[in-house]
């Protein structure tokens, strides 16, 4: 059983397959630049599928390690970059720049410049919702000050609800982890705004509002020393049970998966 962190960068772009992008716009005619992006994504996904297929067939850990090293990643950066430059200013360019950011594990591609470019040329693109999500990890490279400035620029500058929600959620997540009490209080306000003003907007793993509510719930009820909030659940046989059924016992609540 492996540990799974959903917020790992790999999961970020795994949720953004070309198929999903195509499915989002079924009726529109595909622009030439979008077609180029789709072709590149198809090459990327094909290589990924090939590696995973080979990985499944491998019999030793040594073999697996070697095969896994062949996963598409930074080797695709030049192609995404070239495409972004070629189709400059289009939505496909914004997507391509996002891929450069996400594939750039060693942060050598000038994140500050790419972020500035996305903010100045693509403020109305929904891709900025991905950028805002990405900034949760990117803030280490970008610095907290510039990260928060960029997020504010998106909250105030984009007319897209999804971009606003994503930027506000990331801002809240960053501030809730801050040392300063006043920053944490501001983080709480961000999350409260997401819950109140942005219901029903999908983030790729639940809605922003539900995730913000989760953050607030954790803050208020799931800290050490707090009474564990009761919940009702159904087991694999359809039998309902509650956490409070186990009062009087020492209990381990284990969120797990066998993957």
């Amino acid at each position: 059983m492996r540990t799974l962190f959903l917020i790992a960068p790999l999961a970020l772009f795994a949720g953004q397959s070309g198929a999903q992008q195509k499915a989002a716009a079924p009726q529109e005619t595909v622009s030439p630049e979008q077609k180029k992006l789709d072709e590149l994504l198809e090459r990327f996904n094909q290589k990924r599928a090939d590696v995973l297929e080979a990985y499944k067939k491998a019999t030793t850990d040594d073999e697996r390690e070697k095969i896994y090293a062949g996963m598409p990643g930074e080797d695709f950066i030049p192609a995404f970059k070239a495409l972004a430059v070629e189709v400059k200013g289009t939505d496909a360019a914004a997507h391509a720049w996002m891929w450069v950011l996400q594939l750039d594990q060693d942060r050598s591609e000038g994140m500050t410049e790419i972020v500035e470019l996305l903010l100045s040329e693509h403020m109305e693109s929904e891709v900025l919702a991905d950028l805002a999500g990405f900034m949760l990890f990117g803030s280490q490279t970008l610095g907290q000050g510039p990260t928060l400035e960029s997020l504010d620029a998106m909250i105030d500058g984009s007319s897209k609800k999804k971009v606003q929600a994503s930027a506000l959620f990331t801002k809240g997540s960053i501030l809730l982890n801050a040392k300063l009490e006043s920053s944490r209080a501001e983080g709480r306000k961000c999350m409260e705004r997401v819950v109140a003003n942005y219901p029903g907007i999908d983030s790729g793993r639940g809605t922003y509002a539900d995730r913000a509510a989760g953050s607030l719930f954790e803050l208020d009820h799931l800290q050490i020393g707090k009474a564990a909030p009761d919940f009702e659940a159904t087991d694999e046989n359809g039998v309902k049970w509650k956490l409070s059924d186990y009062r009087g016992k020492v209990v381990v609540v284990d969120f797990w998966g066998y993957w």
């Binding site: 793993r205 639940g206 953050s215 799931l222 209990v251 284990d254």
Partner: protein
């Protein structure tokens, strides 16, 4: 994780202790098969996937995520694994006089 959890459940059989799994592998049938294959006997909640209702409500974004709760229902430890989890549980059992 799993081997240690199985050991713990066996070791503390008869004590006022419960291991409750909140599973994100899929529907009841999927989980049932995993439980049978892996010989997992403790109580489970079917939470469907990683965006399941309980995982979302409890703000879980990494798996496994663990809470250790004392006999009075107070959260006492978070994200303790393996030996640390065992030590935490034993300490709380001793506290409860069990």
């Amino acid at each position: 994780m799993l081997p240690h959890e199985k050991e713990l459940v066996k070791l503390l059989d008869g004590k006022p202790f419960a291991l409750l799994g909140i599973n994100s592998d899929g529907d009841a049938a999927t989980v049932k098969k995993i439980l049978a294959d892996q010989n997992i006997t403790w109580r489970q909640a079917i939470d469907e996937d990683t965006s399941g209702a309980l995982a979302t409500k409890w703000n879980v974004s990494g798996w496994p995520t663990i809470f250790v709760i004392d006999a009075k229902g107070v959260i006492r430890y978070r994200d303790v694994r393996d030996q640390d989890m065992e030590d935490a549980v034993k300490k709380l059992l001793a506290e409860a006089g069990a």
